[in-house]
Structures are given as structure tokens and as C-alpha cells.
Subunit: 168 residues, 2 copies
């Protein structure tokens, strides 16, 4: 199910282009620079839109790399336009595309750590449920909330994307 | 892993009381009625805070009931205070407590539908990945964003709760 979750993360990252397009359209309608969105935030001490998108990407990337023991690329976080954010999203999806279901064998019992945990670690299963998945959706949803609060006409369908509904 | 995700949803629902407490504290500091929060929203055509909390609860409840074929209780959505929202959250956690890992046997291939899908259905696995999990975290995160935008001092730790970090 780790692999299936990575597939879902890819699908949801794919929605970003649609959000960026709606944001650009709204900016055009109101005659402001669409890249203004990158610096908007819901509270002065919360990350701005660009950072929320970058962290959403990194969380998906690190979920895959940490659960499989593969090295993740380092990103510079230099994105300054919606187009550059889109390229970051595409690069993330391309990275996630390199993983197969087999790569996640043994992920549940793998040791996961990061510098801020000061030598402590989590099991892969705990990391996945308690940290990776909640963080991915958190930053994705904060990015959504920032656009929504600033006039972009996003709805639930823009968030979820198409559902695999089947005819009876 | 369905059962493990329900356990994580329970944990995150458990964070709501902490958020409500911080919201009440902020309201007291600024001398306004803490129940004002229930009607706040990030955009005029988005659900208000109370509804975001109610949907978060219902999404967790329906994830468990639909994946196991058990009947879910109907809720009236009459909550008008933070205390009543807290009771709704507690009732949801108590309902989730009635499930065991065995209840989720066969969940992946179970048929899941709802009236708005007009006769179409999803497999349990698709419903879980594409609909249930993204929606749960979406509404939880919108509730968080509404409080955060309105001055409540929440941080990532208030969202994630305690992590099962292990000593080396």
C-alpha cells in the first residue's frame, strides 16, 4: 500500500497545474501579476504559498526515498514564478515515476530518521502513517487554502481530481 | 493498512480538543466569544469551521463503515459551541474504537457507493486512496487553516501530535 499511496500523491501533485492555471486566470481578470501568489500566506508566521508547494513536493519525494532507502535529489527552492513551481512539481512526479512496487518491500520495518530527531528514529510504518501522509496532505491543503482565500475559484473536484468510478 | 489508517485518523481527531483549547484561550485574551470560530471561513463560498470539523468526523466514520460494510450512525450537525464540537469528535472516536483489524478483511474489493455517484461505485481500495484519505486530511487542514488565519497559535506539532520516535 506504500506504493499505491505514492501513486495517489503523484495524482494529487498533478492537480497543481490546474490550480496554477486557475490562479493565473484570476490574476489576469483582476490585472495583477500571477506570481504575487507565491508570497501569499494565511498568517504572518506561516509558510507562503511557494513554500507550501515546495514542501508538498519534498514530502512526496522523501516518503518514497526514505521508505525505500534510495537517495533523494536535493532541491534549491529557488522557484520564483508559477511556471518554475510547475517545473518543480513535474520533476517531483518524474522522480516518483522511477519507483516500482518492489522497491517498497520491507518498507514497514525500515529505519527512518532525520537530523531534527537528534538520533532517534521511526519505523517505516510509523513514519508513513504519523508523519509522511499527514504532512503531504497538510501542505497540499494549506496551498489550496491560500489560493481559495485569495479569490481563486477552486473546488473539491480540483483537489481530488477524477475518481475511478465504475459502472454497475 | 486500512485499520492502521483508522488508528491514525483517531489520533488526529484527538488533536481537535487541543486546537479548541488554544482557540478558547485566544478568544479569552482578545475578549470575544470563542464560539465565533464556528462560523468563520476562508472564503464566502467555503464551509465554515464547524462544518469542516463535522465533515472531518464524518469522513473518518464513513471510511470505517464503508470499508467494512457496517452501518454508520446519522449525525444531525446541530453543534453550536466548541464544547458540542468536542463531544462530536469524542463520539466519532468512540465509534472508530468499535472496529478491529479483522473487520477490514476484504475491504480492498468491497463495493463502495453513495447517492451522488448516481449508481456508479468505487472499489474499496480506490475509495480509500482517492476519496477517503484525501478528504479526511483536506477538511482537517481547512479547519486548521481557519483557526491559524484567525490568530490561533497552532503549529505543526498541534497538527501531527506526538510521534513514536524510538531511541537507537
Amino acid at each position: 500500500m506504500y506504493f499505491e499511496t505514492i501513486q495517489q500523491m503523484k495524482k494529487m501533485l498533478g492537480q497543481f497545474d490546474h490550480w496554477f492555471e486557475k490562479a493565473s486566470h484570476h490574476a489576469k481578470e483582476k490585472s495583477f501579476d500571477p506570481n504575487v501568489y507565491l508570497g501569499l500566506r494565511l498568517a504572518p508566521d506561516q509558510f507562503a504559498f511557494a513554500r507550501q508547494v515546495q514542501i508538498t513536493c519534498d514530502t512526496a519525494m522523501l516518503t518514497a526515498s526514505r521508505l525505500t532507502g534510495k537517495e533523494a535529489p536535493k532541491n534549491e527552492d529557488h522557484e520564483g514564478t508559477l511556471g518554475e513551481l510547475s517545473a518543480r512539481v513535474h520533476a517531483t512526479v518524474a522522480y516518483l515515476d522511477t519507483f516500482t512496487a518492489d522497491d517498497f518491500a520491507g518498507a514497514a520495518t525500515r529505519t527512518v530518521t532525520q537530523p531534527r530527531w537528534e538520533g532517534k528514529y521511526m519505523t517505516g510504518a510509523d513514519y508513513f502513517h504519523q508523519h509522511a501522509v499527514p504532512n503531504f496532505f497538510f501542505h497540499l491543503s494549506q496551498a489550496y487554502a491560500i489560493l481559495r482565500h485569495n479569490g481563486v475559484g477552486l473546488g473539491k473536484r480540483d483537489y481530488l481530481g477524477a475518481l475511478d468510478l465504475r459502472a454497475p
